[in-house]
Amino acid sequence: MDAAIVTRALVKRYGKTVALDGVDLSVRTGEIHGFLGPNGAGKSTTIRILLGLLRSDSGDVTLLGGDPWRDAVALHRRLAYVPGDVNLWPNLSGGEAIDLLLSLRGGFDRVRRDDMIDRFQLDPTKRCSSYSKGNRQKVAIVAAFASDVDLYILDEPTSGLDPLMEAVFQDVVKEQVRQGKTALLSSHILAEAEALCDRVSIIRKGRIVQSGTLDEMRHLTRTSIHVHTESPVRGMEGRAGVHDLALDAEGATFEVDAEQLGDVLAELTAFGVVALTSTPPTLEDLFLRHYGDELAELTGNGAGS
């Protein structure tokens, strides 16, 4: 099977509020797919429809070849879910909650479970009521990755983890995908998506506004250059492909379109380059292309344009 998840024109309304306005999401088998967007864009609603917890008003969903609403039970044996907000039973210990979730999904491997608890440095004897947000998330993460499933659905799984645990998390996801598993990772931590994802989809106001590999997306945007030169840089004002130019006595800072990058660098050598930093477009830049207008409105200036 080629695609693990395909949605077409998915719509979900709550009264007059349109939460999803025609989501077309496609996740290929064997990839880590980033699902990016700020709070309220529709990430969690989409994920809950994929899990059969919410019902779409219209549109089609296929998940692992089945219908997530109708075939929920059968499909759930083959997937594991980490919610963004993990709520657990206060009077169960973390270990009990993990074992419960694992066996409700259909049997588990104790060695793998203990290994995951170890790697995430979770104390499984504590009551869930005394866990911090990060530790509750670890419980859900351990319960997900200790199961042998085809698809991991991860809804902002690391928002409460410290940087060390974040690194462990990234290792674990990569291991699974190397074994042919698929992961859908919703996030607004762009560095995490950049480090992990093969492809990303950016969602805005209930629609997917862009989808593709990071390379494909980078090609659509600009690299930023900071150069320190012996003589003042000239001839860059108004040059095709150069944007947001700022000149000073010792060099220049600007952005350049991907296809003009080589020519511009050649021209710069004429001024005697002392130092040069080139920053490829980050996911943040890609993201801001779609959210620049909102940001401008929020910050009251033209940033991101």
Partner: protein, 542 residues
């Protein structure tokens, strides 16, 4: 004073949060007191009839346990003897829940942390919760006073009645204030306060059951256990009879003592912590936990044990006094006629047990409602989401809780019936009669399950309203059972309560017809609930 900074802002915030729930409580309790007085006015046309009623209440162990001590023959006194115990229990519940809502619930959900980081003193939250709760209790008291005055009852007694209710509410607000410091969860704090309420009822019931009737025959002097119970103090004020204001001093001492304790405990503990230290748990789950049914058992075990124990104690108490009903009827032929009018040919004891279990069944339905509403609590807290994301289907999950509620309901009624049968047997020496007592308990099961099926259907079809409507359905059944005849409700209204349809076994022969209908209605409602839950969106925790 910095410890209390921000209290008034929190009071305003609390009033805004409770702007629906508290007015509903206040209106319902005021209305209930007005309805009872109206009914008593209609029932007792003459002083002689009132004297007879008071004498009955003073002598009858059953009314002593349910209503408390008889206190003379004035219209006001008779009305408040009838109504006070129930009003007091409701005010206590209202007040305790309000305090827990604004203290421990806020801590459990983390809201308190947000508030605590603002310009808010250490003691401000507890103080504000007490002010809101005690304030609501006083408004209930004022409402009841007005309702009594509206019927032309004397001013002093009306004021004393309102004051007694307000003081009861205030004391249970303070009890809940302490409970909220001790327990780390809202559920635990409510259970603790509820336990104190149950114990208070039990102490008062025992004290009044063993009380002595005065020479006048219309007044009962309670035994000492009644004086240990804040639920009993209000009745010891003997409103419209002696208007014994001095009893208010007891309330005041208890309130101040508990409030000081709550503040002291709050000062010594960390935010979010309790006094009962968190124990660590097992690193691995026992196999019996690892199924939907195993989880339901873990979540539902303690409420079942608590209710079961309470109903066993109740069964023993009511079973033990059953035999004395015969003697009582012997000395009181009019009562015997009244009883036997219901079912000619039955014995007084049989009628007594039929009546007792019609009340106990409504109490047992409280367990059923609570157990089924646990499903809604699991859903809104977001704990259902991870379960339904595993290979557990919606119906399988429903069934795990539904089965437990049905089994638990049967278990508590069987336990209660068995306890009553045994204690009746021990006292009377007639163990064979125990089968009739047991039958009185068992025959109630279809009615309790029918009420449970209403909760189940509401959860599936109208989840947002499930909590409020389920408790309302229970309250309606309770009012109809306790006051239905008194209020002269039309038959169609009485028919809405499932308990109306239960045959008065063992006083009358068992007729299967109504029970089959109750079970059929329950089955349909369960089907509606399953279909509804199967097709609706899950409520997603915010």
């Amino acid at each position: 004073m910095t410890d209390w900074k921000g209290t008034w802002r929190l009071v305003r915030h609390g009033l805004r949060r409770d702007r629906v729930v508290l007015p509903v409580w206040i209106a319902a309790l005021t209305g209930l007191s007005a309805a009872v007085v109206a009914a008593e006015v209609a029932m007792y046309a003459t002083a002689a009839e009132r004297a007879h009623g008071a004498a009955f209440g003073a002598a009858n162990v059953f009314t002593r346990i349910m209503d408390g001590p008889a206190s003379g023959t004035s219209l006001g006194a008779i009305s408040m003897v009838e109504a006070f115990q129930k009003l007091a229990i409701f005010v206590a519940l209202m007040a305790a829940q309000a305090v827990v809502r604004h203290t421990r619930q806020d801590e459990e959900t983390g809201r308190a942390e947000l508030i605590g980081s603002g310009v808010v003193g250490r003691q401000a939250r507890l103080t504000a919760a007490l002010i809101v709760s005690v304030g609501a209790s006083f408004i209930v008291g004022a409402g009841v006073t007005m309702a009594l005055l509206a019927h032309g009852l004397p001013l002093e007694g009306s004021l004393a009645s309102g004051a007694a209710l307000a003081a009861t509410g205030a004391c249970f607000a303070a009890i809940a204030g302490v409970a909220a410091q001790v327990s780390t969860t809202q559920r635990g704090a409510n259970a603790l306060a509820g336990g104190v309420l149950g114990l208070s009822f039990l102490l008062r019931a025992v004290g009044d059951a063993f009380g002595t009737v005065t020479a006048s025959g219309v007044e009962l002097v309670s035994a000492w256990p009644s004086w240990l119970s804040p639920l009993g103090w209000g009745q010891q004020m003997r409103v419209f009879h002696q208007d014994n204001w001095a009893v208010l001093a007891l309330f005041s001492v208890l309130f101040v003592g508990l409030a000081v304790t709550a503040f002291a405990l709050g000062n010594r503990r960390d935010m979010g912590a309790g006094l009962i230290a968190d124990r660590s748990g097992p690193a691995e789950a026992p196999p019996r936990l690892l199924s939907p049914g195993g989880l339901a058992l873990r979540l539902q075990k303690w409420p079942l044990i608590t209710w079961g124990a309470a109903l066993v104690v109740t069964g023993v108490a009511f079973g033990a006094v059953g035999e004395s009903m015969e003697d009582f009827a012997d000395t009181n032929p009019q009562v015997a006629d009244l009883f036997l009018g219901v079912a000619p040919g039955a014995t007084i004891v049989e009628l007594y047990f039929a009546l007792v279990f019609s009340f106990i069944a409504v109490a047992a339905a409280g367990y059923t409602v609570q157990a089924l509403l646990r499903m809604r609590a699991e859903e809104v807290s977001g704990r259902l989401e991870p379960i339904l994301s595993t290979s557990v289907g919606r119906i399988a999950w429903l069934a795990s809780h539904g089965r437990f509620a049905v089994g638990g309901t049967v278990a508590v009624l069987v336990a209660c019936g068995g306890a009553a049968a045994l204690s009746h047997g021990v006292v009377s020496g007639d163990f064979a009669a125990g089968w009739g007592v047991m039958a009185a308990a068992l025959v109630q099961i279809p009615a309790v399950l029918a009420l449970g099926a209403v909760v189940f259907a509401l959860f599936g079809v109208a989840p947002r309203w499930a909590g409020a409507l389920s408790w309302a359905a229970l309250a309606v059944s309770f009012v109809m059972g306790q006051f239905g005849d008194l209020l002269e409700l039309p038959q169609w209204a009485l028919n809405m309560s499932p308990f109306t349809h239960v045959p008065a076994v063992p006083a009358v022969a068992l007729s299967y017809g109504p029970l089959v209908v109750l079970v059929a209605v329950a089955a349909v409602l369960v089907g509606v609930g399953m279909a509804g839950f199967g097709r609706r969106d899950l409520a997603i925790a915010a």
